[in-house]
């Protein structure tokens, strides 16, 4: 009994395992480890509200960003354009199944699942519909942390535009705008999310 009561007052650094008393943080404050300097706790401002709104925006932008053509080329009177989904379909067509799967995972599946996950969690918090299953859901959500690569794909778009601009007539389509907005909203949605707050709330609610 005494032990588990004490544990609520302690935190440990994820990088170096140093043990501290849990500080009382106000919104906007964060706690850094004295030994290795990594951030241990961060109480983000209006995290539920902000994350909910950004993830809603991301879900609305998802379809246009994936389906609208990002850019097109014109050469010798011929025109061809491609969207994010086309990249994957073409790779499947040419027999690069592994690359197609991985590009699909990193540039579409993981970001989409993360957006819907953030939306579902913040929705449940916003409208006070907490369920015990959220504990499992939010744990699974954490496994995807490292594998969303929308920002890298954005840089890829910029580089390939540079590559094409010399030899061909390059045209930029609506898909690019949609993709940039989607990138911004999904990045903001996960940046605004405050996992420590969510875990704390879920613990108070469901774990005796």
């Amino acid at each position: 009994m005494t032990n588990s009561a004490n544990n609520k007052q302690l935190i440990a650094c994820q990088q170096c395992d140093a043990l501290y008393d849990k500080p009382e943080l106000k919104q906007g404050q964060s706690a850094k480890c004295m030994r290795c300097g990594s951030t241990m706790l961060e109480r983000k401002i209006d995290s539920i509200e902000r994350s909910f709104n950004w993830s809603l925006a991301g879900i609305l932008l998802l379809m246009p960003a994936i389906l609208l053509p990002i850019m097109g080329v014109t050469l010798a009177g011929q025109y061809h354009h491609a969207s994010l989904l086309d990249c994957i379909l073409v790779l499947i067509d040419r027999g690069f199944f592994m690359i197609a799967t991985l590009v699909f995972l990193f540039a579409i599946a993981v970001p989409v699942v993360r957006l819907f996950g953030a939306f579902y969690v913040t929705y449940s918090f916003k409208f006070k519909k907490l369920k015990p299953s959220l504990l499992y859901f939010f744990r699974a959500f954490h496994h995807l942390d490292n594998w969303a690569m929308l920002n890298v794909f954005m840089l890829g778009i910029v580089v390939s535009m540079y590559k094409l601009i010399d030899d061909t007539e390059l045209s930029v389509n609506m898909g690019l705008l949609a993709f940039i907005l989607w990138l911004i909203s999904s990045t903001m949605a996960s940046a605004a999310l405050d996992p420590d707050y969510i875990w704390q709330k879920l613990e108070d609610e469901f774990v005796d």
């Binding site: 440990a12 990088q15 690069f96 996992p195």
Partner: protein, 227 residues
């Protein structure tokens, strides 16, 4: 400076990697066994088991995959039916020829420097963590954190090729085909990411904290002796 920091491990506590809840370890025997988190019910270990071995193995796999990734062409540009294969390095050479230096630097960093630094850096970290020769936990854990953040950016070249293949498809006039190197290159990136994931940065600090304590104890003892 004698910062007396005690770790969770020394206090018989274990940090859940998913929800960051501190769990009690009731028995000594639990130290190497799977623990179920009381908060999120996920299974985890106090330290990742065989962390250095796993890191080393994945790292070696990445290094092996990196060789064909550089030897085979990553993309073949067809214009008027004639194919022009280019490897990662020759693609960078083309950018330099065209005078697009910033892009050449970006591609070179993302597809040559980052994977190499990651592979060599992880080998170094494993070596230092294992032998503890000239181990500087503060420096090395920052270095590890940087390696972890850099990882995904190596996928840049893969995305560029995927985009070019999809966009440049004008039949006979010009088209772009992906080369076999792209498979190996993607494997390199994935393997280094898994290698970085399997490394446990807390291993860098573990012995250190004990050493510090011993030192502190020694200092206290010495002061006592002289006092």
């Amino acid at each position: 400076m004698s910062l007396l920091i005690s770790t969770a491990k020394e206090n018989n506590l274990a940090l859940c990697p998913q929800c960051h809840k501190l769990n009690d370890l009731l028995h000594e025997a639990d130290k190497k066994e799977k623990i179920q988190c009381v908060r999120c019910h996920g299974m985890f270990y106090q330290r990742k088991p065989h962390s250095l071995q796993y890191t080393l193995a994945w790292n070696l796999a990445a290094l092996i995959a990196f060789i064909p990734a550089n030897l085979y062409p990553i993309m073949i540009i067809y214009s008027l039916g004639i194919g022009d294969p280019s490897t990662i390095l020759s693609g960078i050479g083309q950018f330099i020829d065209q005078g697009l230096y910033p892009i050449a630097v970006i591609i070179f960093t993302a597809s040559i420097i980052v994977p190499l630094v990651k592979i060599i850096g992880l080998f170094l970290l494993v070596y230092r963590a294992h032998t503890r020769i000239r181990l500087r936990p503060d420096k090395h854990s920052k270095f590890y954190h940087a390696l972890e953040l850099l990882g995904p950016w190596s996928m840049l070249d893969v995305f560029v090729v995927a985009l070019l293949v999809a966009v440049v498809e004008l039949g006979f006039v010009t088209s772009v085909e992906a080369g076999p190197a792209i498979n190996y290159f993607t494997l390199t990136v994935i393997f280094t990411m898994i290698a970085a994931n399997s490394f446990d940065p807390r291993l860098l600090w573990d012995l250190n904290s004990r050493d510090n304590k011993n030192q502190d104890k020694k200092e206290i003892k010495e002061t006592n002796d002289y006092g």
